[in-house]
Amino acid sequence: MALTITCPICGKRNGYEFRFGGEEKGPRPEEEGLTPEAWCDYVHLNKCVAGVQEEWWCHKDGCGSWFKIHRDTTTNLEKEIKTVIEEAGK
């Protein structure tokens, strides 16, 4: 269950320094025309992937920055996966 997380500022640190910030769900939905379904989806619903997922973390006992990583939930190991946007920017 040991976990290390790589903070973009502080580097690889013990997982207990961080706060899990949820699955990556895209941008917050627009207020206009917002349905209870869409809001519930954004606030509460998860995919609970058993495998690699993209997720948010906050380095709460460190620099305090928020960032995203990919992690395999079945092994607790970080995965280096470049996002489509990063790839396109190259």
Binding site: Y16, C40, N46, A50
Partner: protein, 407 residues
């Protein structure tokens, strides 16, 4: 476990190509549902599909504590019925479930916690569940090993004493239910992985497994911590669930020292002494979702620190075994039971977090009613998935817990 000899609950049947009901997951909720489907409704053409072996998940990993001192008017009657069913099941299953209703002592460490306990106790008493508020001195009389001095991290202000709760041998419940269900014709298929659910015109039509396809009109997913991933994977239904590892451990056997279940929210620690003499104790959940059941030095240290503060006689006692299980937590700490809503013929029973064991008897009874009649029993209506959309979250948490950004 998988020996060539037949399992104690009956012979290994070949997988048929169709069943009336398919249940994914071989844990207590599945076994209890199958048992009540046979017993109360005469539905016996049931397959239980278990990837590993029955009782592999939460059913065999919990700390065996049962109680009915939850917080809301929807939950308390369900857990009360579950508690009342253990002596009944012991007789009906003709299996010694080793129910020891030694009582639960839930320690309170602040005046705010005492206030919260007063409300919980009022709810319990209203629903006919015995529960009392006691002060620190009375708690010490009940459990002389307690440290009620003020020089610990969280001094004990008092406790919520719930005499009808206690402990129950979890493996015995698995085996007893499996034997009784199998005797009525339920087929338990271990080492069989459910891979998908096929639908036709918005209705359940089949279940694909690692050993072939099964035609069925009704399927229940009650696979404990694995339910949410399976339900999303098979049907694309997202759930308000975070799956977290929860760790537990036992000490070396000791002479009798603790004759109640003692728990503390502030210390994130609960402990009871097994009939063998070990102190079985559990911890808080790891603060990030994962599907490992691994242990960490972090929690071994945490348990040792907590126990040696409020039960100082345990200082120097060694932990002998340690394990982990999965808790599928919802934002309101109440479960999700639903059926015929998202897909006709599809039922789900999940989101139990760390309450799955203590609820299984009553939930099996009501899920069986739900599946047999296709009508949601009144008892289960408040637990529908829709409540999250409708902002009707249950107040099962007295104080917000910090395990997901959801709360």
């Amino acid at each position: 476990m998988f020996s060539k000899n037949k399992p104690m609950w009956g012979k290994k049947p070949p997988l048929k190509s169709s069943y009336d009901v398919v249940i994914i997951g071989g844990g207590l909720h599945s076994l209890a549902t199958a048992y009540y489907l046979t017993k109360e409704y005469g539905i016996t053409d049931i397959a239980i599909i278990e990837k590993n072996y029955i009782g592999f998940g939460g059913a065999g990993r919990n700390t065996a504590i049962v109680r009915a001192n939850q917080r809301t008017q929807y939950n308390v009657p369900l857990y009360k019925e579950a508690l009342d069913l253990w002596p009944v099941l012991t007789k009906d299953l003709d299996y010694n479930l080793m129910f020891n209703n030694c009582g639960n002592l839930n320690l309170m460490h602040s005046e705010a916690a005492m206030k919260a306990a007063r409300m919980t106790i009022a709810t319990a008493q209203f629903h006919g569940v015995e529960s009392h508020l006691i002060d620190a001195k009375q708690a010490k009389e009940l459990v002389p090993a307690l440290n009620i001095s003020e020089d610990i991290t969280f001094p004990i202000h008092g406790a919520m004493f719930h005499p009808p709760g206690g402990v129950l041998r979890h493996d015995a419940v698995v085996w007893g239910l499996a034997r009784a269900a199998a005797a009525k014709g339920v087929q338990i298929h271990q080492q069989t992985e459910a891979l998908g659910i096929g639908t036709q015109n918005g209705k359940v039509a089949s279940v694909t497994t690692s050993r072939g396809a099964i035609n069925t009109k009704q399927v229940l997913i009650s696979a404990g911590g694995y339910s949410a991933a399976l339900i999303y994977d098979m049907l694309g239904i997202k759930l308000p669930i975070s799956v977290l590892t929860i760790q537990a451990m036992v000490t070396q056997p000791l002479k009798p020292v603790l004759d109640h279940v003692v728990s503390s929210g502030a210390y994130h620690c609960y402990a009871n002494q097994t009939l063998k003499g070990e102190i079985a104790t559990g911890a808080h959940m790891d603060p990030w979702p994962n599907y490992t059941t691994l242990n960490t030095a972090h929690y071994i240290k945490h348990q040792a620190e907590a126990l040696s503060e409020f039960l100082p006689c345990l200082r120097g006692v060694r932990f002998m075994r340690i394990w982990g299980g999965l808790a599928d937590m919802t934002p309101d700490m109440a479960p999700i039971m639903d059926g015929n809503e998202q897909v006709e013929g599809f039922f789900m029973d999940c989101g139990w977090g760390y309450f799955g064991f203590k609820s299984c008897s009553a939930v099996g009874k009501y899920m069986a009613q739900f599946m047999a009649t296709n009508q949601c029993p009144d008892m289960l209506k408040p637990f529908a998935l829709k409540r999250y959309q409708e902002h009707r979250l249950m107040g099962e948490t007295a104080a917000l817990v910090n395990y997901t950004p959801d709360n």
